[in-house]
């Protein structure tokens, strides 16, 4: 690339391109096959040899999943839980991050260390005590139970990321507001949050996707079918109708489209978020 004759450089670039394209195709094959299966009538989903492209494509799986199997309901449940979690976690963690970034107070280091411990402990370790806690708080079998526990689970990482961003905002800007008589709450809303839009976007996206995809906690605490979220609805549906693969993958496609759309729309924030997270952790 850097030196050498241009023809050789061009040839190398072509090789790179072909290898990348091939790898990307292999990586996409499972998805393509899933998509293809979701348009097959159920009678042919396990036909030998498999139809790579359905001979008689049908959208029946999608309409059936959305209507008679109530995936529309599960979609709304998931959306409600993910949106509420994102809003709550964003508010609480940005407030905490502001306190850690800008104030000196007794116990600051201890509290921050506790937050880091929360960041390191695997979520699965807490499943049993959290289940007992949810039972005590009567938060089993409730969408609010999901929201409260998802929010708690996202706080440490969000606070950690936002604090790093807030610290890089010049203190002078805030001091100018202090001179004008602005209190901390006003500085937080009028200055810190508006200047932190990129970081807030990252936190929003990560939190939303994490709650949208969460499976284990929902599986463990939700029994009432009217309160299923998409991940557990899909898994339990597959468990009950082990051969209705077309229907399973129609529902799956419905579930992953929002996640992929969000990722594609915010790709740049995503990548930079991962990079800063990686370099600062």
């Amino acid at each position: 690339m850097v030196v050498g004759n241009p023809r050789r450089a061009r040839a190398l670039l072509t090789v790179r391109f072909v290898v990348l394209a091939l790898g990307a195709f292999i990586l996409m094959v499972p998805f393509l096959y899933m998509l293809s299966t979701s348009f097959k009538p159920n009678s042919v989903v396990l036909e030998i040899p498999p139809q790579l492209v359905p001979h008689h494509p049908t959208t029946a799986n999608y309409t059936q999943a959305w209507t008679s199997n109530r995936f529309g309901r599960y979609f709304l449940n998931s959306l409600f839980v993910a949106l509420a979690t994102t809003a709550l976690a964003l508010l609480l963690s940005s407030m905490m991050a502001y306190a850690f970034a800008r104030f000196r107070f007794p116990g600051r280091n201890v509290l921050f260390a506790l937050l880091l411990i929360g960041l390191m402990v695997p979520a699965m370790m807490l499943l049993i005590p959290q289940f007992l806690l949810a039972k005590q708080l009567t938060l089993l079998n409730s969408l609010w139970g999901l929201i409260v526990f998802y929010t708690g689970g996202n706080l440490a990482l969000n606070t950690f990321l936002l604090r790093a961003f807030f610290q890089d905002i010049p203190v002078e800007l805030e001091e100018a507001m202090v001179v004008d008589g602005a209190g901390p709450w006003k500085r937080f809303w009028r200055l810190i949050l508006p200047l932190s839009r990129p970081a807030l976007a990252i936190v929003c996206i990560f939190t939303f996707l994490a709650s949208w995809d969460e499976f284990t906690w929902a599986l463990t605490t939700i029994n009432d079918p009217s309160k299923y979220t998409l991940p557990i609805a899909i898994a339990l549906f597959q468990g009950q109708h082990s051969t209705s693969w077309g229907l399973v993958f129609a529902a799956s496609t419905i579930a992953i489209v929002p996640a992929i759309a969000i990722f594609v729309a915010f790709q740049r924030q995503f990548v930079s978020g991962l990079a800063t997270g990686a370099l600062k952790a």
Binding site: I48, M95, G118, Q238, I262, Q267, F270
Partner: protein, 315 residues
């Protein structure tokens, strides 16, 4: 030269003055502390309730034969649940399977992720598109991809057997099933390590790469001499997180094999989940979870040591 050296002390002095804290009255200081706590309180109360309290409880529960019936007392067992784990062949099998999964997925994700990152680290057409495509499996729900792989590896009429003209009972035997779980882990994870490696590669100064190229170093030698050492901390970070992730594998095993056939593909977490939520043995489940956490912590510390040593020796 002279201009820059004379300006440096001046600018340093100015910024030092800006950093010096202003003198504040005691009441103002008190108000500041109060507002800090007010900003902190709502979030920290939630965090303490949902995360910190359960951490303490996890250990406490593991010391009991935990009773789920209200009003009945749990029986104190001391460390008995831990002793039970050490003598439990299923615990060791879970550990073995998790270790196998890790040994399969961690190196593959690092090598393949790095390879894709290196290929993408050039002015190549469709770069953003490729990066997105490789990342799509990462943002896709574990539930969906687990069911998908289960479908692909069905013995009769499954995609893999049909296309490769095989007749392997993938999910019906321990090691082939573990292999499928490993494939899924690698397939889903390449994009994540790739994005982090790509970010790190792009922050390696271009002058360094060019200098090595002028010296006539071949691409591979250049990569080893310049990029690889610069990326050491990032590789360490990725490795540690992948090892932790590997030991925490759960959803894919739960949905693809359920630990079967006959508990053969049980990993630590699926075994823990089964003990706790199928057999309602919360005490033993907590002990298993606690052991897993200890293993993960020790592994992370050991790796931090291993990765740090050479750079310290150099400094």
């Amino acid at each position: 030269m002279t201009a820059s050296s004379s300006s440096t002390p001046g600018s340093l002095g100015r910024s030092a003055a800006a950093l010096r804290p202003r003198r504040r009255t005691a009441s103002r200081r008190r108000r500041e502390v109060l507002s800090a706590y007010l900003f902190l309180a709502p979030g920290f109360v939630v965090f303490a309730t949902i995360i910190l309290y359960p951490i303490v409880r996890a250990f406490q529960i593991s010391l009991y034969q935990w009773s789920l019936v209200p009003g009945t007392a749990s029986k104190w067992l001391g460390l008995h649940n831990y002793g039970r784990a050490i003598h439990d062949p299923l615990f060791w099998r879970g550990l073995e399977n998790a270790a196998f999964y890790m040994a399969l997925t961690v190196p593959a994700q690092i090598v393949l992720g790095m390879a894709v990152a290196v290929l993408l680290d050039a002015r190549i057409p469709g770069r953003g598109f490729f990066r997105a495509v490789y990342y799509v499996p990462v943002v896709t729900s574990w539930v969906v991809v687990s069911l998908l792989f289960r479908y692909l590896f069905i013995t009769e009429g499954g995609f893999v057997n049909s296309e490769l003209h095989l007749h392997v009972n993938w999910l019906g035997q321990r090691w082939t099933a573990m292999l499928v779980l490993g494939f899924l882990g690698i397939w889903k994870g390449i994009g994540w390590s790739m994005v982090i490696f790509l970010g790190a590669l792009q922050s390696v100064p271009a002058e360094l790469k060019e200098a090595a190229a002028v010296d006539g170093a071949k691409a591979w030698a250049r990569f080893r001499a310049v990029s690889l050492p610069a990326m050491r901390p990032v590789i360490a970070f990725v490795t540690i997180l992948l090892v932790i992730g590997g030991f925490n594998v759960f959803i894919s095993v739960y949905l693809i094999t359920q630990g079967g056939p006959l508990q053969e593909t049980q990993v630590l977490l699926t075994y823990m989940y089964q003990e706790a939520f199928s057999y309602l043995d919360f005490g033993y489940g907590s002990a298993l979870a606690f052991i897993l956490t200890l293993i993960v912590f020790v592994l992370a510390l050991v790796q931090l040591r291993l990765f740090r040593r050479p750079s310290e020796a150099r400094a």
